[in-house]
């Protein structure tokens, strides 16, 4: 362009510049959103399953299938907040095991059934508190701290349990772990939906939630703009511990026992759910809706595979490929576009 030309004609609005509060909604931007892609993936998986599998669309089966992922998804919710905040918690499965053991011990000591969830909650929150203190007070990377604490928590659980198992939990726990509302909706699923709604409101409509994004985008800037960054981190670690203990309560109730290998490998499945849900591992981006869609998609795939009598370990391949493809595809497409231009 010729540098001597005068300024380009001004826009028609009365002020010199207009900055829109938000993007103008366009179909393309809407379709390009991660959540829309996930929703389409979910629909595709769902439709494919209902065509391929004769008993897939049975309402009772379908609702029962939600029990496979409800507990993991409960942990995925706070994990999403943590990852948005640029932290991670590998120790959730260890926390879950320890909370379950604590309930077993409390039951053995004659605590009433109603107090068991509180025991679990206290244990989980304490585990999260330890993680949070180590991360915030000593400025340690959370991945290292929680790799350490996962050994610690699971180790303590196995020290208490030895090669035994706690069984004989009160009916109250079975009611929550295996029970139904209105005879068909599993209570665990309802708990998950309620929690998801709470988390969505917290993250997307409150200033508390906005600050989590701010911290994830730039922790130093967030600190200088007056956010008590470490207090938020500590709170999120405690929240994650608490949610893991809630999952422990439901899981222990569902399977009716505490074994040393309870929930092994869950940390990676939970993190996979969160990342598949479009939460950026670099922090600062992600939504609860995305996480829930990822949870539902993974749940549908698992449920379909189990109906088709395919061993569960194939699921790990499917999930792994799903994760790789969903993160690699946008990159590949962008690279091709850049090369074409």
């Amino acid at each position: 362009m010729n540098p001597t030309t005068t300024m380009p004609p001004e826009p028609k609005s009365s002020s010199r510049y207009t900055i829109l509060d938000r993007e103008t909604p366009r179909l393309r931007t809407l379709l390009g959103r991660w959540e829309s892609l996930l929703a389409m993936l979910f629909i595709v998986v769902f439709v494919a399953n209902s065509i391929a599998l004769p008993h897939f669309l049975d309402l009772y089966n379908l609702l029962d299938g939600t029990q496979n992922f409800s507990e993991k998804a409960l942990i995925a919710l706070p994990m999403a907040l943590l990852i948005i905040c640029r932290e991670i918690d590998i120790s959730v499965a260890g926390t879950l095991a320890l909370s379950s053991v604590a309930m077993g011990l409390a039951k053995g000591a004659g605590f009433p059934a109603e107090s068991l969830p509180l025991v679990a909650l206290a244990t989980g929150t304490a585990c999260g508190f330890l993680n949070g203190v180590l991360v915030t007070r000593f400025a340690l990377p959370s991945i290292v701290v929680t790799i350490g604490t996962v050994s610690l928590y699971r180790g303590l659980a196995s020290v208490v349990l030895g090669d035994k198992a706690f069984t004989g939990y009160p009916q109250l726990m079975a009611d929550w772990g295996q029970g139904y509302f209105f005879g068909i909706v599993p209570r665990e699923f309802v708990v998950l939906l309620v929690c998801a709604a709470l988390f969505a409101v917290l993250l997307h409509t409150t200033s508390w939630g906005r600050r989590i994004y701010a911290i994830g985008n730039n922790p130093e800037a967030a600190r200088f703009s007056g956010i008590a960054v470490d207090r938020y981190r500590l709170a999120l670690f405690m929240l994650t511990g608490a949610m893991a203990s809630l999952a422990a309560f439901l899981l222990t109730g569902r399977i009716g026992s505490t074994r040393p290998n309870i929930a092994t490998g869950w940390e990676l499945e939970v993190i996979t759910m969160v990342i598949l849900g479009g939460v950026s591992i670099a922090g600062g981006a992600g939504t609860i809706a995305g996480v829930m869609l990822a949870v539902l998609t993974m749940g549908t795939v698992t449920y379909g595979l189990s109906l088709a009598n395919i061993p569960g370990i194939y699921m790990t391949i499917v999930v792994g490929v799903l994760l790789l493809v969903t993160i690699a595809l946008p990159k590949l497409l962008r690279m091709r576009r850049a090369r074409g231009a």
């Binding site: 007070r137 000593f138 050994s151 020290v159 990342i275 370990i313 999930v319 792994g320």
Partner: protein
Amino acid sequence: MNILKQREPLLAAMVVLLVVAVGLREPAFLSAGSLANLVTDSTLLVMLALTQMLVIVTRGVDLSVASNLALSGMVAAMLGAHVPGLPLPLIVLAAVAVGLALGLINGWLIGYLELPPIVVTLGTMSVYRGAVFVLSGGAWVSAHQMPASFVAFPLDRLLGLPHLVWIAAATLALMAWIARSTRFGRDLYAIGNAPQCAGYIGIPSRKRLLGTYALSGAVAGLCGYLWVARYAVAYTEIAYGFEFTVIAACVIGGVSIGGGVGTVLGATLGALFLTVIGNALPVLQVSPFWQSALTGLVILVAVLINARGAGRRSRQILPLHGTDAQPKRSAA
């Protein structure tokens, strides 16, 4: 006093102290046979920790090592079981090749597609582990199916030391050379310290990352064969969760998860330290159930020690008022 500020001498002293302390309680622990066992037991962890160290130095992490090990080990075991006449070097080569190929996949996704390492290796970890099941159909390959030479090789002795120790020593020497004296190795530190600057000064980051994960994969493949042969059994769950032990060894050895910092000696000592703890527990008649809890504690303590002084906070622009300047320590 300067020597005490360095990590490696401190860690070496801790390893020796731990060995001596256990030896005082249970003199059998200090016998030559027991110490040789200790070294043999540590070899696989040492080899994996060394390559993991290089990966972490580039600000990455390879969570798929244990799955890679299981898959290459299963390939080696099945080759040994189903193709009886196959010479051992070919089997080992096959295991290394499988590991290398899996590592190249990681490296391509991380280097060329610029995807976050933790996510990529999380994904490939599931895929590789699942592939072990697909390949074997969930069946075990046990000792009587494997050729005798296949099983015997790791513990056969050369000049009085098991092959395992020689292989680990060779790996150690190779990694030390790569990390200290090659352009490849130095580039990794540059990439980890400042990824963007590395690009500006002409370091081919993509190629280097590909190479690093390929190396990590190849060593995992070699360890796959050694693991299967040493324990004379191959099944889907082999080395399940071992990736965390490997990363823990690195962390104890002072490798910074933030990239750019780490030494071959540190990673080796970290792996030795974890092995000593693992071997000391049965000798001290501590229940093996304590192992995981103690390992966790050791990791946390090591990280806390490593972080001394490194915990720089954000720069203070304005002085804080009065008593706020030194926040009181509470509830640590």
